[in-house]
Amino acid sequence: MHIPDGYLGPATYGSMFGLVLPFWAAASRKVNRTLQAKQAPYLAIGAAFSFVIMLFNIPVIGGTTGHATGATLIAILIGPWAATISLSVALVIQALLFGDGGITAIGANCFNMAVAGCFTGYGVYRLLSARSDPSGRRRWIAAAAAAYISLNISAVLTATELGIQPLLEHTVDGQPLYAPYPLEVALPAMALEHLLLFGFVEAAVTALVVRYFQRNEPGMLA
C-alpha cells in the first residue's frame, strides 16, 4: 500500500500533501495539549509497532503481498491523533531510509494509512463498542471489525489515487504518464486482496492485542 515515486502525478501528490498537512498540524496541537512527557514512550511504541508489523508481508500464493498497518489498534490504545503521528513517523522513515513508499508520495501514504486508517478505525471502534463493558466480548469484536474496515478503506483510497492517474495525467495521444492502470483495474485488484485476506490479518492482530490488554492491562482501554 506504499505508493512509490513515479506513480502519482504532481497534481495528485501535491493535493495529498495538502490534505495531510492540516491533520499533522491538528495532531501536533492535540497531542501538545493532551500528552504528558511521561506518555512519550507510548507514541514511540506505537510507531515502532506500526513499523515492525508492516515488515510482515503476507503472501497471496503465486500473487502479490500485503500487510497490516496497526492503525486501528494504535488508535484504540493511544487515541487517533497520537496514532496518526506514530504511523506517520513510521511511514516517513520507511520512505526516507528504505525507499518503501516514495518521498513524493509521503503525503498520500500518510493520508491513506495514518490519517484515514487511524480515524476510520477509531471511529468504527467507538461506534461499535459504545457503552460496552471494557472487559467484555463486544470490545474486541468491535476492534476486529474496525480494523478490517479501516485497512480496506486505506486500500481503496490508495487504489483510487493510483487508478485516477491515467485519466488525469496522459500524453496527447492518451498514453499514461504515471500509474498506468485505470480505476476498473486498480480498485478490484487492491480491494479484493484486502477484503479477502489482509483485512482479516489486521482484524486478528488487533483483536488479539486488545484481548491481551483486556486481560492484563485493562487501564489502557478505559
Partner: protein, 119 residues
C-alpha cells in the same frame, strides 16, 4: 517497579520479538512464490507488465536514493538466508530509528505544552 513502567517494558519486549520474527515477512512470500505488493513495481517490472515505462514515472521514479533500499544491506547476496538476515538487520535499524524519532517528537510536543502552561 511501577505498573506503568512494567507495561512499557513488556511492550518493548513484544516489539523486540516481532523484530526477530520479521524475516518471515520476506521468507514466506518467497516460499509461496508471491511477488511484491500490487502497485509497487519497479521500472523493469512495469515495462514487463505493460510493455512500456510511462514518461512521468521514468522521470520521478529515481528522485530519491534511499540508503537501504528494499530493507536490504547494499551489496548483500540474493539467497533467501542472506535476504532474511539483511531484512532483520535493516528492520532493527528501522524500528530503532522510528522509535527514537517518535519519542523525540513526542517529548518536543509535550515540552511545548509545559512552557505554554507557565505563560
Amino acid at each position: 517497579m511501577s505498573e506503568r513502567s512494567t507495561t512499557i517494558k513488556k511492550l518493548w519486549i513484544s516489539i523486540g520479538i516481532l523484530v526477530l520474527l520479521s524475516p518471515l515477512g520476506i521468507i514466506l512470500p518467497a516460499l509461496f512464490g508471491a511477488g511484491g505488493a500490487w502497485g509497487e513495481w519497479g521500472i523493469e517490472e512495469i515495462e514487463k507488465l505493460t510493455g512500456f515505462v510511462p514518461e512521468g514515472m521514468k522521470r520521478l521514479a529515481g528522485i530519491w536514493k534511499a540508503p537501504l533500499p528494499g530493507y536490504a544491506v547494499p551489496g548483500q547476496g540474493r539467497g533467501i538466508a542472506t535476504s532474511g538476515l539483511g531484512y532483520l538487520l535493516t528492520g532493527i535499524i528501522g524500528v530503532a530509528l522510528t522509535a527514537a524519532a517518535a519519542y523525540l517528537l513526542a517529548k518536543l510536543l509535550a515540552r511545548r505544552d509545559r512552557q505554554q502552561g507557565k505563560d
